[in-house]
């Protein structure tokens, strides 16, 4: 224990002996308490108001700003995403209509080509067919004309064999024509 402390205690004991007051109402140290209260309170007030509280306040403020900023950023990003989705859907719809158009156009082109080629081939085939028919008709006619001559010759030959008659060629031809009419 230091000397001033001991001195203080003896002084305090003397005061108590003199007054024997209830300590909270003992005015001996009223001045001292007020003095030290004023100093500590003033210092604490200055330290808190100039130093500690602004620091806490700015930390809270910074966080609040940051959260608000983040929320704003999130909202703007969301609107951007929404816009991107809208653009994508629009592009998709456009592409779809364009594709439909292209497909229809290609189909029409192909159809037209098919029709054209079909018509061409048909015409060619028709021409070949009619040509063939003509040739067949010609051959038929030729053959038929020859049949008459053969029939007449055959008739002459038969009659010569059977009857030894020498039938004139003109007569034979006449008979064949007559037989053909009768038939």
């Amino acid at each position: 224990m230091t000397a001033p402390e001991q001195h203080g205690h003896t002084a305090e004991h003397a005061a108590h002996a003199a007054q024997s007051a209830f300590p909270p109402f003992d005015p001996t140290y009223f001045a001292s308490q007020l003095f030290w209260l004023a100093i500590t309170f003033a210092v604490l007030y200055l330290l808190l108001s100039k130093w500690v509280l602004p620091r806490i306040g700015s930390a809270i403020e910074e966080r609040r700003d940051r959260i608000a900023d983040d929320l704003d950023a999130a909202a703007s990003m969301k609107s951007q995403a929404d816009e991107a989705v809208r653009n994508y859907e629009q592009a998709l719809a456009e592409a779809r209509t364009k594709a439909h158009g292209l497909a229809a156009e290609a189909k029409a082109q192909v159809d037209a080509k098919i029709t054209e080629e079909t018509a061409e081939v048909d015409a060619k085939l028709d021409a070949q067919a009619s040509d063939a028919e003509a040739r067949i008709q010609e051959a038929k006619d030729k053959a038929l004309a020859e049949v008459d001559a053969i029939a007449a010759e055959t008739a002459i030959a038969i009659s010569a064999q059977l009857t030894q008659l020498d039938v004139a060629e003109a007569d034979a031809q006449k008979a064949v024509a007559k037989a053909k009419q009768g038939a």
Partner: protein, 271 residues
Amino acid sequence: MIEAAGQPVEGLDVADATNPIKQFEIHPVFNFDLNGIDLSFTNSSYFMVLSAVLVTGLLWMAMGRAALVPGRAQSVAEMLYEFVAGMIRSTTGNEGLRFFPLVFTLFTFILMGNMLGMFPYFPAPGFHGFTFTSHIIVTFALAMIVILTVMGFGIYKHGLKFFSFLFPAGVPWPLYVLLTPIELISFISRPITLGVRLFANMLAGHILLKVFAGFVVMLGAAGGGLAIAGILPFAMAVALTSLEFLVAFLQAYVFAVLTCIYLNDALHPGH
């Protein structure tokens, strides 16, 4: 104290241990005289300085990194900040926030003083705890800080209109004969009630604690069956200790809330 020479140490110990008033005694640590006025640094001063140091130091350490995502200590510091700010906002509105440092200082200083007083023994001069808020001169001075701030700001801001609270509106004037003295008395009694409430709560609580703790010592000293019966006051002292923690917080809170309410009168006079 031990060094009180000439007295038997043992007898002094028992008397000290059971004396509920002893804890309020003020001892000088360093003598300091100014023009004959005793301004000694006492154990009371020690706890005041310690409160201020702890409030500043703990808050500063808690805000050490001032992280965007707060840790535990920073959360507590910010909760305390928001708690006091919310208290002011709810009683006076946003314009009361100009008194935020004052209310915060009052609240934390009183709270720390009350809480330090809950230590029965403490690394302090004389090794015993002390509650500086259990001295009426301290609580009254704190109350006067509030009332002088209210009056000073009220008159500065509203001039003589500040005193319109003495003449409530919408009352027939002959009633002022009755109402004005009542309003005046209620205004003058504010610093007294504000100071006495805190003082009386801390004083009574600590006396009660010491009385029950003293019973434990006395019954223990009696020995035998009585020593076993000492469990009862011991349990009571434990229960009272938790109650006193509540009171320590509550009285700091009440002081701060009443400060806000009185400041509201200065901000918005005439109710």
